[in-house]
Symmetry: C2
Subunit: 346 residues, 2 copies
């Protein structure tokens, strides 16, 4: 456990700034006195792009690399063409820092709204591959803009990349009480990638005899997310399927206002990055309506990753208690942040 | 409207045979006396593959082509390696017969179970592209089975293919009372294919000023499927996203026991094919537990496609009435088929 925390902060766009402020507030409140917190803010996102045309200059990337971890708010604005900031900034960070484990826990806390009747017990973790699949940016367009255009997107999958994330998921499943791991893919159609995933999954499974395994096609998985979410414990899946499934998971566990994520480089060679699953929500930016809870829970993941387990648990307990006490009275972003800061300190 | 109906029937695997029998029963009961129904059954699926190693021989394909339409039960069995029958039979039919409109209506009937609290009004249609995207079978594997394996899947998208399905979706939206069309893609990451889809969508939109349009990323769309499904009217999307979204749509509208689909070749050059969205469910095959309603509703889509609108409506009304009368008493596949046949005849 390090006694200093040198954090890079990328507030980003829209509500990013507001939620990150609350994340930092709670982080300061929870950290033991003797842990020195240093933060450096990076001006990246839509405003920077409009001003300079830059998304993520190499010098910034080098500087970001020097930190213990990165806290990110949200990236994206309607004024920027779709894909520019996503590919040029957010995904560039995930790829450059080899965030091959995109960790997304889903838990239905008591007293939070779920669209599901009967309030099933939901407590699972999606381990989404973060550096391969259809996200590699491979692909192109021929005769662009003509009636004869052909556009391709190439999903690139390597045994190297699949094995390391599958191993990570097995280790996580093995450490949980239920010890169950579900592979989600679409190997009846995407036979090349799907069969490789399945083969590697089955191989690694032999090293974890205590872990119960299961396979689901991605389409069938969405059914179980709404009809039997309690059947899931840990899920491992490709980058795109993980993107889709974790938004659905957030929706059934109280909304993306509560969904946290970690973009993790398990080797520690590069800083890991923690961010709420939600977007920049420009429609409510500046109104104080954004719920900072997802960012605060992302801070808990950050602390856990850096070895501050007790502090991570304090934050998670504070969030659970705060949610349990909610009675529908509207609170501002700031008020929720304050309440959580008081709880973790108390 | 043709006064004869020359139907190819592919019962397929698992519960396929059982549900198709009910579909044919209801079809016979609803057809006017003067429409001559001829059916020819094709022995395709797992058993055939085990016996002969064939999935879909050219001679069968030629023969199937001579029919007005195809009714398919379900394809797939655990005894066959994943992908063999899907790619070699089901997808081969969709591609060979240029089924570029994969039509999947979703409606929450009264008195049917939905996992969603509050029973939102759900009545939308997904127009899933059926002949392109990640389903083309492009891709491959290098150094297969070694730690250095690379597996790729190529999503192929053409302006030709996208425009025709987008046009079909606009025409469908324009013909519905709410006249709303939502494009679902992931154009912030899959920028080549996604931007082409969006550009063509916006172009065709100009020809349909009465249709309200909307765009959603696929991950966000899954959220709205469970939190605000009433916002959707017609959705147009790529082959893989459509696969995922329509299973989720089925789950929130009473389950895949009720979800019908049409694989449509709108030009009429090839026979269109109608099938329930559910799979072969080998676990319940032969038990009489399969609900044939999805197949019966697929028969309604078949009749509508062939110009028998009144008969299609009679089937849909019969299903609605049958569902409204269900009181939880279990009925066999056959009993449900009988009840529906009586209703459409009456
Ligand atoms: C903004 C977008 C590029 C991103 C993704 O697709 O990964 C987001 O949806 C997420 O899940 O973090
Ligand atoms: C069986 C499979 C190939 C098929 C698909 O992916 O299209 C099925 O899931 C469907 O939705 O009809």
């Amino acid at each position: 456990m390090s006694r200093s925390l040198n954090l890079a902060v990328i507030p980003g766009d829209g509500i990013g700034q507001e939620v990150v402020a609350q994340g930092l507030k709670v982080l300061s409140a929870v950290l033991p006195q003797d842990v020195k917190l240093e933060t450096k803010e990076y001006d990246l996102g839509a405003k920077r792009w409009h001003r300079t045309g830059e998304t993520l200059p190499d010098a910034e990337l080098d500087s970001l690399r020097e930190h213990d971890a990165i806290l990110l708010g949200a990236i994206g604005d309607p004024s920027v063409p779709s894909g520019v900031l996503e590919r040029g900034l957010l995904l560039k960070l995930r790829f450059a820092f080899d965030h091959y484990v995109n960790l997304r826990p889903s838990k239905l806390f008591p007293n939070t709204a779920t669209p599901l009747a009967g309030r099933p017990e939901i407590d699972f973790v999606v381990v989404r591959e973060g550096t391969e699949g259809p996200y590699t940016g491979n692909g192109g367009s021929l005769r662009t803009g003509t009636p004869a255009e052909v556009a391709t997107e190439v999903s690139v999958n390597t045994a190297y990349g699949v094995e390391r994330v599958v191993r990570d998921a097995f280790a996580r499943a093995d450490a949980r009480p239920r010890k169950k791991l579900t592979l989600v893919h679409k190997n009846n159609v995407l036979v090349y990638a799907g069969h490789m995933w399945k083969k590697i999954f089955d191989q690694v499974a032999r090293e974890y005899p205590a872990v119960t395994t299961d396979y689901l096609h991605v389409d069938a998985a969405t059914i179980f997310f709404v009809t039997q979410p309690e059947r899931f414990d840990v899920i491992v899946t490709d980058n795109l399927f993980g993107d889709i499934l974790t938004d659905l998971a957030a929706a059934v566990t109280g909304g993306i206002g509560l969904a946290a994520s970690g973009n993790i480089n398990p080797t520690g060679e590069f800083p890991s990055m923690f961010e709420p699953v939600h977007g920049s929500a420009p429609d409510i930016a500046g109104t104080g309506k954004a719920d900072p809870t997802a960012t605060v829970l992302s801070v808990a993941l950050l602390l856990r990753h850096l070895g501050h387990e007790a502090e991570a648990v304090r934050i998670e307990d504070a969030v659970a208690a705060d949610l349990a006490d909610r009675d529908g009275t509207p609170r501002t972003t700031d008020e929720i942040g304050d309440a959580l800061a008081v709880r973790v300190a108390g």
